[in-house]
Amino acid sequence: MLQPHIAEEVLARATATGADFGEIYLEDQTAQNINLRSGKIETVTSGRSHGAGVRIFVGNQAVYVYTNDTSREGLLACADKAAAAVNGGKGCKIAPFRIVHAERPEEIRLLPTEIRASAKAEKVREADAAARAYSDEIVQAQVRYMDRVQDVLICNTEGTFVTDRRVYIRLNVNAVASDGKENQSGSAAPGGGMGFEIFDSRIDPAACGKEAARQAVTMLHAPVCPAGVYPVVIDNGFGGVIFHEACGHSLEATSVAYGFSEFSGRLGEMIAAPCVTAIDDGTIVNEWGSTHVDDEGMPTNKLVLIDHGKLVNYMIDKLGSRRMNMPPTGSGRRESYAWAPTSRMRNTYIAAGEDDEADMIASMGEGLYAKYMGGGSVNPATGEFNFAVNEGYWVRDGKILHPVRGASLIGRGSDVIMKIDRVGKDCRLAQGMCGSRSGSIPVNVGQPMIRVSSLTVGGR
């Protein structure tokens, strides 16, 4: 992708005016998407994105310049634009490159770029047929298949020169149920860092279609969720979005290094209930949020964030590491070359505990059982988070009464992780796209079933 001697020339030019660190990120990605609606394949789109970014640091200041022109001239032009933004600094030497190929081809059996689009379309049709067959109330199903193969090269003035290949596949089914007056929707969207063999093991398109339809039909017949403050039980898998929003973002250097986060300066303190251990792991083979090296060229690792309630680690990128005076944790990620990297989550989950799931509901009194969560968001400065409950059930006297629609959960991160009073045994991961300062990236969220002793439930 890039000759080492050209890389060296570009880094030398980029740091010529005094920068003390320089980096080149080069990317070539091929993607294919297939969309089906109303039972017909509507669009098949193939796209190649290609570009590079040159980044330099002067102390805690960062300059980033990017382009599609990855020729020697294009990269040198980027280097010159970056250097022009700097005047003075201690400069740096360019360390000899240690060339590393981090990709592990043995993890991928069937590269999606070598599979015909017609074979991919079959998977889409299977999901659609299953969604429609579920009920006469299903009036629409939309199925999206997406794959991408991303080749990256990252090199820097510290001697890093590393290539990686990331392969992603995801199937997303959205079903709409209607009684003519009202619409409700349901979805299922599994994916992984795998080749097309993912359909032999992890993704069953018919099961996805059926699941999306079941949710939509269930919600069509559900009354609206009552509003108020109640205990809430959140099921495993995508339920982990609560930790991702309520706490995870506030442990990223992006907010910690600037002192914005409510968890800034609190290492070693008990920030969560003792039953909570939380982990961010970029190394799980074939997972949606895994990479072999991060987008700054560092090997990824398994990082314990909270150990039995105690805050033990933040997620730190290179720039954050300078501000915080702590080593980076392989957490630098970005959507593409069009974004400078920053600290981001990978596969983030609450570890399995010891509580019995059935007892958790039986002993909760009146409240909400959130079976499937939707997405959410957080303001790390204030810790206020919100997220949607896609499928919820109302519980009274410890018994599940009926489904409820339109529920949302709100609160403050530091409160909610203190109020977790039960952690179940069966931890599952689920796939999501996370949007933040370096764009939209694949992440896993996860947890076993947990209970929060009291939470504001938004409804009507």
């Binding site: 998407n33 297939i34 969309n35 109303s38 017909k40 394949i41 509507e42 669009t43 098949v44 789109t45 193939s46 796209g47 190649r48 994105s49 290609h50 200041q61 960062a62 300059v63 980033y64 310049v65 382009t67 599609n68 634009k81 970056a82 933004a85 689009a117 017609s118 379309a121 009036v139 629409q140 939309q142 007056k181 009202e182 619409n183 409700q184 969720c225 509003a227 108020g228 403050v229 600037y258 914005f260 409510e262 069009a338 400078a340 939707g374 997405g375 968001s377 303001n379 204030t382 988070f385 919100n386 949607a388 339109g406 529920a407 949302s408 709100i410 403050r412 504001t456 938004g458 409804g459």
Partner: protein, 444 residues
Amino acid sequence: MEMKEFMDTLLDAAKNGGIETAEIYYSDEDSFSAKAHNGVIDSYEVSATCSLSLRGSVNGRMGYASTEAFDTEAIAYLVEAVKESAALNEAEEQDEIYAGDENYPEIEEENDDLDEVTAAEKLAIALRAEEAARTADQRIPQTEGATVSTQKGQVILRNSYGLNLHRTRKLYAAYVIPIARDGDSTATGFKLEYGRKLRGLDPVKLGKDAAADAVSKLHAEPVASGEYRIIFRHDAMQSLLQTFCGIFSAENAQQKMSLLAGREGEEIASPLITITDDPLRKGGLATAAFDGEGSATRTKAVVEKGVLKTLLHNRRTAKKQGVRTTGNASRAGGMHVSPSNFYIEPGEQSLEELLKNAGSGLLITDLSGLHAGANPISGDFSLLSKGFVIRDGAQAEPVERITVAGNIYQLLKSVRAVGSDLEFPGSPIGSPSVDAGMMPVSGK
């Protein structure tokens, strides 16, 4: 290869490769962005990027592909990918490449100064705005930064019928995010300005306005759960309209994803509501003479005094319904529909008058988590909200950690008053403040 030569070669290669009609949509952008934080520029970004997509019809079926690499490989890749894509396309209504209109509207543009303003000036503006925010009030110890960005770009649409359309775009945006703290209360503020004349921006005012916004939200508390008279300030109403504008898409309606299907001519909103889609609006962020498939654009009422006049169409959805395209084709993978400058027409009353008439209730100023807490298919929403108590007909203490729940279809009908304060907060979608009547609130 020069871009014009690349396009010529690509159209030839498409024809020779068996693509009957083909169209290129090309866009490029040069951008600059700098962020000031704690009195220094801590982030500086410059980019020059372009991308090109090809769509083409083979046996009457449309295929799509795109690239950001412009080598000879890219030509073969695009042509083969379009053919593979077309072969799988089974949609009953197919898009067609359009030969173009006789005339396109003239777009009146404000002069700009963005080619003259130097990088050093932009940095100075960011630094001044950040300092103004940081020093505006003792309760502002820091900011998340002040950002100044500029963009300059163009779009070229060329097809095998010889249609060759072109437009340019220039814009600056500047915003500040201060953090206010007092005791154990923390609040963030926000203020954005954008336009084409950066030298006309007052950075000190920008910083101070952002600081005032942050400070006004300190010590916010939830209110008790219950029904409240809700006034959505223009910015909160704008975010609802932006989230739910897809209900006006004929594409969604034809796919049973909008409950407005077939309801043209019916009263779907309060008589106080008129919604306009105006692609010719001067200074609008979506102002353009042609849409994503080369149709001339035009201004139209979507809702007039509560009556649905038209949904938004591209050529495919219009043909299916036997009407004329509204010039709202947009490209995102395939050919879809999206609004241009789309807004609720302002009424007569100021926000103060709306508050006075309501007497008591809640003024909602911020809605969060719209991507998750609002369902564009059912129209239901339950959203984390911030704002102020309305007491004795005026804005009183701040409120946070509450949710406001409702349904967009019902809300449009229950509107009691529309304010005069139409704004477009960094978006082509705009709204004035709206008195929505009684709505359920979940709080403490």
